[in-house]
Each structure stands twice: as C-alpha cells, then as structure tokens.
C-alpha cells in the first residue's frame, strides 16, 4: 500500500524547507500560476477543474467547477474566501498544508482567483493555528515581494491580494455562511439560504468559499490537465484526498491516497493496523459529523468513494478524518463526548439545534455515567428525529438552519444502528442498579 502524493508531495519531499519561498520555488511553486497567466485564458482553468472532477475537500464534496460557475457573470467585485478554519474534530490535514506548504495554497488561490475573476481573496484561519498563520502570512509577504501577488502579477495585468483573518475559536465559523458573518465582524451564525454565497456572499457580493485542500489541489490540476487528474480515483470521487487517521491505530497521521482505496488498506496498510492487534469496534469515517462504520468486513472493504459510502451506508467521507476505536471502547461514552462537542459549539441561532443538542448531551451524559433509563435510547432517536427527520432511515433532512444540528444526531443513529441491544441491556441494568 502506498500513498499517492500530489498535494503532500513537496512537504514530504522537503521536510526542512517546504514552507519557505526558496524551498517552494526550488520545487516548482508558482510555475503553474506563471503558465496560466501567460496563457491568459480564465475559462481554460475552469474547464480543467471541471474535467478533473474535483470536489470540495471541506466536507460537503460539492463539485468545485460547478460552484464557481454559479457566480453571476457580470457582478463585481466578487470574492474568493478560503476556509482554513478546520475545526472538525480529528481533522488535521489543512493545518499541515498551512504549516508546511503555504505557497501551494497561495498559488492555488492566485490561479483560482484569476479563473473566477476576483481580485481579493480572504483566508479565514482557525484561531488556534498560530504556526500555520505565521507561515501563511510570511508566504503571502514573500509571494508579494516576488510579484506572485499584488498589482499586475508577473506583468499579466491581473491584480490579486490575499487578506488573512484569524478566527476566535468557534467551530461554527467553519460553516461557510457563518464564516462570512464572522469575516464581516458579526457573530458567527449561519445565514439563511437563499441567497447563496455565490449570489450574495461576503459584503453581499458574489463569493466562492473553498477549502484549503481544494485550492491546494488546483495548481496540480493545471499542471496535469484535468483529464489526467480525473484518471486518478474512482467514479465521481476523482483524484486523491488526504485522510487524517487517528485513534487506536499504530501509526496515526495524514495519508494522501488515491480515492477508491479501501478503508482496510488505509487503516491496516498505511496506518499500521490497530494497537495490540485488537479488533476495530467502530470507526468514524468522515469527521465527527459523520455516522459511524464498524470493524466488519463489509465496512472495512468498502472503497473510499464519497457516493458509494453515502448511498450504501449513509455515512460520509466528510472532512476526510477517520477515528478508529478498538473493542475496549464504550461507544456510549464516545457518543456523549461527540454530543458534548456539538452542544458546546451550537451557535444557538435555531431552536432544534440550540435546545436539542443540549438535551442530547445531557441524556448521553447520564447514559454513559451509569444513570441511564431504558427509555433513553428511543427518546434520543426521537429527539434526534426532530432535528434531523429521517436520520435513522436516510435520506434525512434537517429542521435546522445548518448541518451542525444534524451532525449531533449522527452518533445517536449509529448507536441505535450498531449497538442497540448492547445499549438497551446496559440501560436496563443501570436502571435496575438504581431501582
């Protein structure tokens, strides 16, 4: 089993200087920008991105070229906003890209800005990423000094600059419209859609919001050509993705692999298998918001294909973070810890999430601390259904404004699906103990 290093190539090849301008230039940085500007065809970049089949790496997996195409053709100014808020628990790939290859991102931003005809891009960096912020800021300065940013880039007549904004510790600010609110100086709360950001985004102007990894991929698509890139991967999941593997594996870390690889190959082949040769009890395949999979062969042998896992198991590859739990783990405790996160991070704007996540957390706390009641599991399923109707039997929808509320229900649906008997038995025992 091997990685397919495209986006992580420079940072793996040059562990000592990949983030510096010299290191980056020595390994081909900004050549694609130069080529694109020399060619002077904005439509061509969009076409290549379209052919590449690139889908957003931030979580929702929306086709990037299609998102760009929603910008109304004649409305200016428009903005590109880079989502570097990476707050999804167990996700740590964007952090690595920021800290260790900021020039790749800058080049991706410049090319994408050129392609969507935007002259100012904003990067919203998670507040805790001190090093990532420093290195990105430095990279932007260095790029500007070398003429890769600023006025009349490389004599092409194209102006583009990047403003970096640091977040203040709210997970919800990773949600694109809350991010825009926060950028504008308001409380980070998602907006009601429509209007969508492509029509009315930052400062009510047309706006594209893309993830760090998504934009870091763009120079490579330009280099390889969209068709070539699309040859990597499987079905509509083209190319590579970085997976942040954590939990009870022997070698946790970021792995960039071609999509279509199986979970087993990733977890056992690359991440070294489970500690002390234990069995996987369950794993979360796409960040804390996703529903879970188990250590069954059916699940482990499934391919890393966004649509396949969604359609077959109702789970998502989401932010590309896989959390592995071995058989010693109490799934109720994990569910409580996840619920606690969402209750803490709910922005409070809409009723079902504001009140529901808190309720779920309280019930799961009791359940995981020996104070459960037999009716609790069904209560949770029902309450969860009021946040995310149909959550247990996909396709689910939401009563909330944004997907954060439903995310808090994923753990309940998973508990119910895979561990119902175990949980019920335990609740009965707990109730007996307290009777």
């Amino acid at each position: 089993m091997t990685e397919t290093r495209i986006v992580t190539k420079r940072l793996r090849d040059r562990p000592d200087d990949s983030w510096t301008i010299d290191g980056a230039l020595a390994s081909g940085a900004y050549e694609q920008l130069r080529a694109v500007l020399a060619k002077g065809d904005t439509a061509d970049v969009q076409e290549q991105v379209k052919l590449s089949g690139l889908r957003g790496r931030g979580g929702a997996g929306f086709p990037t070229a299609q998102k760009w195409s929603f910008l109304p053709p004649d409305s200016f100014p428009r903005y590109l906003v880079v989502n570097a808020d990476e707050g999804e628990p167990s996700t740590f790939k964007d952090r690595m890209l920021l800290e260790r290859d900021p020039h790749q991102l800058v080049e991706g931003i410049a090319i994408s800005s050129y392609s969507v005809k935007c002259n100012v891009a904003y990067v919203y960096v998670r507040g805790e990423f001190a090093l990532g912020y420093e290195r990105l800021a430095r990279a932007i300065d260095d790029a500007r000094a070398k003429g890769f940013l600023g006025r009349d880039i490389l004599g092409s007549g194209f102006d583009c600059d990047i403003v970096v904004h640091r977040g203040a510790g709210a997970y919800i600010c990773g949600e694109e419209t809350a991010l825009l609110e926060s950028l504008e100086g308001s409380q980070g709360m998602p907006r009601i859609r429509p209007p969508f950001p492509a029509i009315e985004g930052l400062y009510a102007k047309p706006t594209v919001v893309n993830n760090v990894e998504t934009l870091s991929t763009v120079p490579h698509i330009v280099r390889m050509g969209g068709e070539e890139y699309a040859k990597l991967g499987v079905n509509r999941s083209t190319g590579t993705r970085i997976f942040s593997v954590s939990g009870h594996v022997n070698q946790p870390g970021n792995y960039e692999v071609e999509l279509g690889m199986t979970f087993r190959d990733l977890l056992y082949g690359l991440a070294g298998g489970v500690r002390e040769n234990r069995k996987i009890k369950f794993f979360i395949p796409g960040g804390a918001s996703s529903q879970w999979l188990t250590g069954s062969d059916e699940h482990l042998d499934a391919p890393l294909d966004m649509d396949f896992v969604q359609q077959t198991f109702g789970v998502m590859l989401g932010s590309g973070a896989i959390m592995v739990y071995d058989e010693t783990v109490d799934p109720v405790l994990i569910a409580w810890r996840l619920a606690k996160f969402f209750a803490h991070e709910s922005c409070g704007k809409c009723t079902p999430c504001r009140e529901g996540t808190g309720w779920i957390e309280k019930v799961l706390y009791r359940m995981s601390h020996g104070l459960g009641r037999p009716a609790d599991l069904d209560l949770l399923v029902d309450v969860g259904g009021n946040i995310s109707p149909g959550v247990v039997n996909a396709p689910f929808v939401q009563t909330t404004i944004c997907p954060l509320g439903p995310s808090a229900v994923s753990c309940i649906a998973s508990l119910n699906k895979f561990f119902r008997d175990e949980v019920l038995e335990r609740l009965r025992n707990d109730a007996g103990a307290h009777a």
């Binding site: 709210a170 009601i192 504001r354 009140e355 309280k362 109707p389 009563t399 404004i401």
Partner: protein, 862 residues
C-alpha cells in the same frame, strides 16, 4: 374589463396553500401570503414589520417539488407553488420545536405577565405535545435583570427569537442589546454599563412572544383576561399613533400599539406608551375650586362656573372683549377645541386666542401650506428636514422617516441646526444657522439629492429652535416652496395642536382652516357673531397682559410659565392679569394664581376626535370614568356659554363632531359616523382623500377569536375599501361656506444681528422626557429626564477654556445662569444647543421672545 380587451400582463403569482388557491404578489413571503388568505402558519420569530430571520423553525412547511422543510417566513412565493402546512411531517416538526422551546422554559405561567396572551402557551395547546419528556435540569439564570429602567429581562423565559434585538437595530437604530454566548447559553443582554435606553424600548416588550421582556410599569399589575380595551390614538405628541388602551378597576394600566399602515406601523414611543400614570396622579385636581382672599376652596360646579362667567362678563363690560384672552386647547379633542372656539370667538367675541404657546409656527403657515401625508415620505423624491431632532419631538415620525431613508432609500436633505439621529444617513447636510437665510446653494443640493428620482419633495417642518423667531422657519419654508412639486409635513409636536388650529384656536382664524375675514359672513350666520378684528397670538397676549391690557386670561390646559419659550415674559404676564381662569388637571406655575379652577378630563377619560400632524382625523377612546367630577373641556365651554347667555344646544360629543362637519369647511363630511366607520380615520379635507378611506369590517381585538393572544403580533383592525366610492357631494362644504385658507408664501426676512466671534448662537430644542406634566407625574419617566446641559462644538469648548462636563456661566439679554457644558461634535462651531426646560436652570430663562435670535456669552467659571 371586458372580454374583448387583451388580457393585461399578469403581475401576480398563483399559489396554493392547503388546497386554497389564490393570487399573491411576487416576492411576498409564504407566511404572509398564507395568512392573508386565511391560513395561519405558527411562528415566533417572524414579525411582518421586520426582516425575516428563520430562527425559531416553527413555520416550516412542505413545498411540492422541493426538498426538506423550508421556513414559510423566509421563502417567497413563486408561481405555481403548492404549499402544505398541515401534513404529518409538518405537525411532527411543530411538536418538536415546541418541545425544544419548552425544555428549558421555566413554565412559571402563573406569575408571568404574558400568561393568557402567550403564543408559547397557546401554540403548545394548539400544536404541541401533551407532556414533557425532559427530565434533565433546566437552564437557570438569575431573574429578572433590568435592561433599563423600563424593561426587565427574564432570560429563562427567552426563546431567542431575536425580535427585540432586531427591533432595536432595524427599526429604532438603537443597537443597545444583542445576543451573547451561544448554544443553549445564548442570551439577550445590553452592553456593560450601557442600559437599553431607547425611546422605543417598550415595543420590544409588546412584540416579545413570551414573558421574557416585561415592562417595569405593567409587571404584575394585571392579567390580560381581566383587562378591558378601547381603541384610541395616543395624543402625547401630534403623531397620534394608534393604540389600544386597557384598564382594570377604572385605572389605565396599559397602552398597546395598534398597527396602522398610514400612521405608526405598530410602534409607539415609550413616552406615549408609559405616560398613563399622570391621569391617576395623586397631585391631580379633580374638583372645581375658587380662590378667595388667596385661599383655595372646593366649590360646586355651578358655583365655579358662575364665578368664571361673572369674571368674563364683567371684564367684557368694563374693558371690552379684547381684554379677555384664551390660551391653550391643544391638549384636548377637536370637539373640546371647537366649543372653546365658539365660546371665545362666537360668544365672548375675542380673537385673542391661541392654542400654541409661542413654541410653534404661525397659523397662517401651518393651516395654509400644501400638505403632505406621512406615507408620502415613503414615496418621496427626497425628504428635507427643516427641524431639529424628530426623535425627541415626534418619535414615531422619526421611525417612519428612518424607514423611508434607510429601508426605502429616499434621499434625506438635512437642514437641521445640529446633527441628529438621521444625519449619518443624510444625502446632503446644510446646517441652518438661526437667524440666517438658508444656504444659497440649497436648491442645487436638493436637485442633486433628487437626481434620477420621481415623486414629490416632502419638507418636514417644525419649530426646531425655540430661541429663534418662528419667522425664520417660515422664511426658509417659503424658500423651499419654490422647489418643484413640494409638500410640507408639519412636525409641530404638541398633542392635538393641529386639531386645535383647525378648530380656530388661533388669532385671525375660524374653524375649518378659514380666516376670520373669509369666514365672517358664514360664521356670523352660524354663531351669531365673530370678532371684529384679528387678535393677538400667544406672544402678543402675554405682552398685552404684562402691560395690563388683558383682564381675564383663560388657560385651557396651558401653562405659559413652563411652556412659553420666554419664561420671563410669561411670568410677568401671569403676575399682571387680574383674573386667571384655569381649565386643567393640575395646578401649575401659571394656574397657581388662578381665581377659578375648573378640572377637566384627560386622555383616556374622554372620547372624541383628534387631528394629527398630517391632518388625519381619528378617534380617541374613553376607557375610564373621569377622576372626581372632572368634566370634558367642551362641556365646560358650553356651560360657560350658557351662563353668558348662549345655549349652544350640544348634548353629546357626537353632536359636536357633527356640528364641526357641518360648519367648519375643512371638516366637511367628517361626521361622527364617518370617523367611527373609517378604520384609519380621514385626512382633511376629505374630498381630496376619499380614495384613501378604508371601512372597518371588524372590531379591534387583543385576543384572537380562538382565545389565543395576539398582542405580540401586529394588532390590526380588519377593513376594506368601500363598495361604492363615496359621493363627493357628501364631503364637500356648503356652497356658501368660505374657502380654505392658502398660505401666501410670504417670506419674512429674518433680521438677526450678525454673529459675533465671541458669542454662541443658541438653539433650544426639545428633549422627549421634558419637564412637562405627563413626565413629571409619571415617576417611571421622570427618572429618565436628562440634565439640560449646554452642548457646544469641541473647538468652542477649547476656546472657552473649559472641559466637557465643566460648568460655565452663560449670559443672554435676559440674564445669566450657570450650566454644565458638554462637547458635541454634532453641534456646529459657533452654536450652542440646549434642551428646553423651564426649571431653575432652564433655557426658558435665557430666551428673549423680543429678539430674533439669542446670542450667549459663555464664560468659564475658573
């Protein structure tokens, strides 16, 4: 339209909600369109006067062909849209949302002001689950906490709908409250050490869907089902916001805003909303009194009336009718004003009558200018503000203006003497200097502001500066009258001043906007006589009184010593008059010396009509029986007339209304019947506004038919356009009646001295919470009165050599005072602003009515 004609292009969209198909306006929200066609979609956060936010999720519906459950409050209708609001899935969502809202709710309904009119209670009944499945501990907060003197917050009851926050931000522009924290800890708060001091804070209490916001005045005072309600208009200022006044045990306890499209859009200011207590004040005088040898004694009404009539008769016999003067009449109804007009002009025969106390604008201008309606602001080409700070003068007019400018994008031309709440949004600012003509380029500036726009220019004109002669405002108005297609909207603030002027309580005028000369023949016919010559206005009356020429002064709810801008002159006049007859509810600085005191009814105790600043005649309601033996002002006048030998033959207030409609030209057609049936009243003269009349099709109700509370949603009265257009002839004055007065656009040239470099020119404006009776007798509002300090530009402060907050000595031709001074960059250099007040430190002691302007010497005390 006949079938032969081509089908006009369809401008509406066809929508089906729960099987009912109707036409709706494109862009209209599903929740609103459905409601207008009889389908009520439950909601908490949506309020039709504010932008939707889609937060509470109570209004989720199903739309055929769409995915999921969109909120009806954020989804606009589209052609062919089919909406379902009653499916099992939707009901399940409503159950769920209600359950979520209740889990952390304290459910202390028995001690909650909202209990009985609470949508959370009601919707739980109608749509909610039977019992709670929540066994965890609820969220707790200390409760309640004050957001201000007027508004208390119970955070446990809050359902985070943001109505209050949005109102403060969007409607009032007072961004003083916001959410802090997030998730289920999210709460409404004011900023640290900055209370929610908005003039409009009471609206948040009314629109809060639960009992989270309570009014310190109403808290625990009553239960909604014990209240009885009457529809009325607030007459605390001249806007006449529509309201529903409620009482319990013959005490006024609450005024709720009614949503009137032409007037107040469902809002009230706090002064109007909470200024009820004065009616029941212990200081109120509620029995007639006479003074003998300096000692007051209560007497019977007949004795008091005889005494007053005798004084009038004697003075008239000895000194002529001109020795009698009547000041006031702007606080009562049109009927009150009219009968006083009959008494003074028709019976006594004096034209020394003025409803304004030198704090308004000449009747020639106000009654004869080409008028705009409030709603014209919304569709204006531009709005010119020739006044001071409307927020302090006519608060809800300020809200309408703010909406027109901020929301509807009407350009604002700001000619106020100093910056005010809307200056930041003005397209053009050209500060008026008291005593000087308008800037030479003002016409160019107005044209510039209007560029590319249609409609009329509306000039909002008031008496922004009590320290400068009213003539300069009229001069400026005459200049602005040259603007193409211009209309004027009066911002004179005193309660029913427009009704009183219309009723003829001004020198040179007779009822119905007709002059003494034009109306002489007609009114002589009607009344048996009118004064021979034009009389004196308030300033003239006070001067004549000071010179001993006024023997009997009748004060009808007037207190010149406190209200006339030049207190020195007023006091001199009051001291010189032989006999003062006071018709009032309270003893005042001016009525202290009265010989006869006749207690009159106040707002809430009397029914009748009033006329607002746009000339709209609306009803006021009688909610409580008068205190003591207080009598309606009009009845007092009729009783006096009888004693002076004239039986006016008026038995009920409706008879007075009908007589006004018959004899006063501008009121033609405004019968008691019309006023009762027209939901939004009628704008004078009705002949020009017939198409605006909407007939009421239902009565006002605070509780909806199903018993659920509605006071938190806009309270509306149903109405529809009349089936047949009214007959013009019914609203046209009699052929013999005189024509309406037209302002001659005469432009008095202000003759102010040049400004000298060492003096500051004084601008005396109004503070909403002033030292008037309503505020001083309402303890809650009394606490909000701000100290009248002198506000000057920072550079002047530096020149004077004093720090902001320090004391200075100010000297005018009237004398010297020591006042606190404050730096205010909104005040132009060379100008000093002060709120009007007649107390010991007040501006009234600096103003000299004999001077066109007041220039102050300001010295540091060091």
């Amino acid at each position: 339209m006949t079938t032969a004609e081509p089908q006009a292009q369809k401008t509406t969209v066809t929508v089906t909600v729960d099987g009912v198909t109707f036409e709706a306006q494109p862009g209209e929200l599903v929740i609103k369109a459905a409601q207008e066609h009889g389908v009520y979609i439950p909601r908490f956060c949506w309020h039709e006067r504010m932008e939707p936010v889609g937060m509470c999720r109570m209004c989720l519906v199903e739309i055929e062909g769409g995915r999921g459950y969109p909120p009806a409050c954020t989804t606009p209708v589209a052609d062919g849209m089919v909406v379902h609001t009653q499916t099992d899935a939707v009901k399940q969502i409503q159950d769920g949302v209600l359950e979520f809202l209740l889990i952390n709710h304290p459910l202390d309904c028995p001690v909650c002001d909202r209990g009985g009119e609470c949508p959370l209670q009601d919707q739980t009944l109608a749509f909610g689950p039977g019992e709670s499945r929540f066994v965890e501990e609820k969220r707790h907060f200390p409760k309640p906490i004050p957001l201000s003197e007027l508004v208390l917050l119970d955070r446990e009851r809050c359902i985070q709908c943001a109505r209050c926050i949005r109102f403060a931000d969007e409607i009032a522009g007072d961004v003083l409250i916001d959410f802090v924290d997030r998730g289920d800890r999210m709460q409404v708060l004011n900023f640290e050490e900055q209370p929610f001091d908005s003039y409009f804070s009471g609206n948040t209490v009314q629109i809060c869907p639960v009992g989270a916001l309570t009014a310190s005045q109403y808290r625990f005072r009553a239960r909604p089902w014990d209240l009885s309600t009457v529809e009325t208009s607030c007459t605390t200022c001249s806007m006449h916001c529509r309201g529903a006044v409620q009482s319990s045990s013959n005490r006024l306890v609450r005024l709720l805003a009614v949503d009137s499209e032409p007037v107040n859009h469902g809002w009230l200011c706090d002064k109007g909303r909470y200024g009820l207590e004065w009616v029941h004040s212990e200081h109120r005088l509620i029995e007639p009194q006479v003074r003998d040898g300096g000692v007051w004694s209560e007497v019977s009404w007949p004795d008091a009336l005889d005494r007053a009539a005798d004084a009038i008769e004697t003075a008239k016999e000895l000194h002529g009718a001109d020795a009698i003067a009547v000041l006031g009449g702007a606080r009562g109804t049109n009927e009150d004003a009219y009968v006083w007009s009959v008494l003074a002009k028709g019976v006594i025969g004096t034209d020394n009558v003025d409803a304004q106390l030198g704090d308004g604008l000449p009747a020639e201008f106000v009654l004869g200018m080409e008028r705009a309606e409030i709603a014209d602001l919304d569709r204006a080409r531009a709005i010119v503000v020739l006044d001071h700070d409307l927020r302090d003068e006519v608060p809800v007019l300020f809200l309408r203006l703010r909406r027109a400018v901020l929301e509807l994008g009407v350009p604002l031309v700001d000619l106020a003497p100093a910056a005010h709440g809307l200056s930041a949004h003005a397209a053009v600012i050209a500060r008026t200097v008291p005593g000087e003509p308008l800037a030479a380029n003002v016409h160019d500036e107005i044209s510039r502001a209007c560029e590319g726009r249609q409609g009329r220019v509306v000039v909002v004109v008031g008496r922004g500066n009590l320290a400068a002669a009213a003539d300069s405002i009229v001069g400026a108005a005459a200049e602005l009258a040259r603007v193409h297609d211009v209309r004027f909207l009066s911002a004179l603030r005193r309660g029913n001043v427009h009704g009183a002027l219309d009723a003829g309580l001004a020198p040179g005028f007779l009822p119905g906007r007709t002059t003494l000369d034009a109306g002489r023949a007609w009114f002589t016919d009607q009344w048996g006589g009118v004064p021979a010559e034009r009389g004196l206005d308030a300033e003239g009356i006070l001067r004549a009184a000071a010179d001993g020429k006024i023997r009997v002064l009748v004060l009808v709810g007037a207190d010149p010593v406190s209200d006339f801008p030049d207190a020195t002159l007023a006091r001199r006049a009051i001291d010189a008059v032989d006999t003062i007859i006071a018709v009032d509810g309270f003893e005042s600085e001016s009525t202290k010396r009265a010989e006869v005191f006749l207690p009159c009814t106040l707002w809430g105790e009397k029914a009748g009509t009033v006329t607002n600043l746009e000339g709209r005649v609306q009803r006021v309601g009688r909610k409580v029986a008068p205190e003591g033996t207080a009598m309606d002002d009009w009845r007092i006048a009729a009783e006096l007339a009888l004693r002076l030998g004239r039986d006016l033959d008026l038995a009920t207030v409706d008879e007075v209304t009908d007589e006004i409609a018959r004899v006063a030209p501008a009121f033609a057609g405004v019968t008691s019947e019309l006023v009762k049936s027209a939901r939004d009243g009628a704008v004078l003269p009705v002949a020009g506004h017939l198409d605006e009349i909407v007939l009421r099709t239902g009565e006002l109700s605070i509780m909806a038919d199903d018993g659920s509370g509605t006071s938190w949603d806009p309270i509306k009265v149903h109405g529809e356009a009349p089936e047949e257009p009214a007959d013009e002839s019914e609203v046209t004055a009699h052929v013999d009646a005189p024509a309406l007065h037209v302002w001659d656009r005469r432009a008095p040239q202000p003759e102010a001295p040049a400004r000298d470099a060492y003096a500051l020119r004084l601008v005396v404006g109004r503070a909403l919470y002033d030292d008037g009776r309503l505020v001083s007798e309402t303890p809650l509002l009394q606490r909000l009165v701000r100290d009248p300090d002198l506000r000057v530009h920072p550079s002047d402060l530096a020149r004077i050599g004093v720090d902001s907050g320090g004391q200075v000595k100010v000297t005018s031709t009237r004398g010297s005072q020591v006042v606190a001074v404050r730096a205010d960059a909104g005040v132009p250099a060379g100008i000093a602003c002060m709120d009007f007040s007649a107390d010991a430190l007040g501006a009234a002691l600096l103003v000299d009515a004999g001077q066109p302007v007041v220039d102050l010497r300001v010295e540091s005390l060091r």
